[in-house]
Amino acid sequence: MKPGTFATVFSQRETVKGHFLMTVKAPASFREAIPGQFIMVRLEGSTPPFLSRPFSIYSIYSQGNDTFVEIFYKVVGKGTLAFSRLQEGDALNILGPLGRGFDIPPSCKKIVLIAGGIGVAPLSFLAQHCGEDTRGTEIICYLGAGSLETVAGLDRLEKICSAVEISTDDGSRGYHGPVTGLFKRDMGLYPEDTTWIYSCGPRPMLRGLQKLLKDQPCVCQVSLEERMACGIGACLGCVVSLRPDGAEGSLVRVCKEGPVFDIRDVEFGE
């Protein structure tokens, strides 16, 4: 059983402009979470948000009998605004861990992370996980942001990754342009058979990455975002279209069959 759970805010702070890192004290069942999995979050007895909101797990750790779940999020609307106002001790309701996380290959030599904005959240958890488990794996991270004030999640990644490359839309820091452009520059460096790519970010970025990888047969898993109501596969609200290998398209639930998919299977639309 993983029923909806009362949890409390342990700490919260704004890391870079509009981005909040919240630590939630959660039940021990959360310890088992895998990178790429998510939780559904809501307030108790107050709206907005009316529906729970999905957030990737940014990290999990235990201290004594307590388990702490970190989420890292950007304020984009009513729900995230309401969450950003929570203070230590405030009550939350969380459900999880949910969904199918990233596949972690024990043998691969190079892991490449490509993050667009707050898409860094699940990738940072993955980096942490791989950094601990498979010593010797090289992790390279490409981090895209709007401008230098919103480069999110950098500190933690710099500690884990062999290299962190930054791009900004306005060129105020690092490469000037989309993070996919930055990755494209280095693409030749990564051997197909020993490189695993993981990515998360806005849809146009993932679409760009998909194009880029058309003739590059290395593994690439992406974590997708879709509006969700239930988070557990019941409402059929969160579907995306998959079209693996040119087969007939089919709708799958991001919350249940995902949120992690093979980038080649996803139909990103226009």
Partner: protein
């Protein structure tokens, strides 16, 4: 606890009056990890059609003030796969199984009803008449008393199971539809289905839903649902099941007091997957607190 919670809905016997609403509880098994399914009065499964359906393209849902719009578009596995893959699990648990069905023609409804009536483990049919009748220019069965009566009669004609007809609120006079459906032989009514609504993304100037319009559910619609249930209870003599915006025991009790024989919990399941059990517990507590030992002594006790 020592209160009698059992109710009879036109031949369908429930150990308590709390059901989960169609489309909000999957095929039951999705919720197995989140609550004790055996506590429920009944599970109404996602609407079934003759053939599997893909439903509408995404985005399919958007939040609204105290509610949500959905345009899932009746995606479902089809009646055959339901019987083969979903029903076996439902047979292993206690709650009554209500198969919600829909079609685009009277014949569709009849075929689905026939197949399900022969399937072991289905305890009742709930006929969703909010769907457009493709033969008659797309008028929803549920917004025309004659069409609503026709489909009810046809389904009753081929099924030995109790037939619950689920009414749409998007009508001028719900009692007119209710009476027509009752006359056509329905064993019970459930109401309401969703109100049709819309929402616009003002930055992109497109509808939030790919399907443009969707069905509004959640606490926003509760006052409308309660009014329609009360009107319908006063207009027919078959049992009425109240649905719409029920988030907690207090909401459910409002419907029971208005005269609903049972209630269905919909959107609330998304927000709190164990809410149905909380509602059952809450109703029991209310009965105890008010020295009522049988739920029937609460049902329909509104004083005007």
């Amino acid at each position: 606890m020592n209160v009698r919670m059992g109710v009879d809905i036109g031949g369908l016997t429930l150990k308590n009056p709390v059901m989960t609403a169609s489309g909000t509880f999957g095929y039951g098994e999705e919720y197995a990890g989140y609550l004790d399914l055996n506590r429920l009065g009944a599970i109404v499964v996602k609407g079934l059609s003759l053939n599997p359906r893909e439903g509408n393209p995404p985005p399919r849902i958007i939040e609204t003030a105290s509610g949500m719009l959905n345009a899932v578009g009746l995606q479902n596995v089809g009646v055959k796969e339901f019987i083969d893959k979903k029903l076996p699990y439902l047979r292993t648990i206690e709650p009554a199984v209500v198969a919600n069905i829909f079609g685009e023609s009277v014949e569709d409804y009849v075929k689905v009803a026939q197949i399900l009536s022969d399937a072991k483990g289905v305890d009742a049919l709930e006929v969703n008449i909010s769907c457009p009748n493709v033969r008659r220019g797309g008028i929803a069965f549920g917004s025309d008393p004659t069409l609503a009566g026709e489909v009810t009669k046809a389904v009753k004609g081929v099924s030995r199971l109790p037939v619950i007809v689920k009414l749409t609120p998007n009508v001028t006079d719900i009692t007119e539809i209710a009476r027509s459906v009752e006359a056509a032989g329905a064993d019970a009514l459930s109401l309401i289905n969703t109100l049709t609504g819309m929402s616009i993304d003002i930055e992109k100037r497109v509808p939030h839903l790919e399907h443009v319009t969707g069905g509004l559910s959640g606490p926003a619609i509760k006052p409308v649902a309660l009014r329609m249930v009360w009107e319908t209870v006063n207009a027919v003599s078959i049992p009425v099941i109240g649905v719409g915006g029920i988030m907690n025991a207090s909401d459910a009790i409002e419907f029971l007091i208005a005269g609903a024989r049972a209630v269905q919990v919909g959107t609330a399941n998304f927000i709190n997957p164990s809410v149905a059990v909380d509602i059952i517990d809450g109703i029991e507590r209310y009965l105890l607190d008010n020295n009522i030992d049988d739920i029937h002594d609460l049902i329909g006790t509104l004083r005007i």
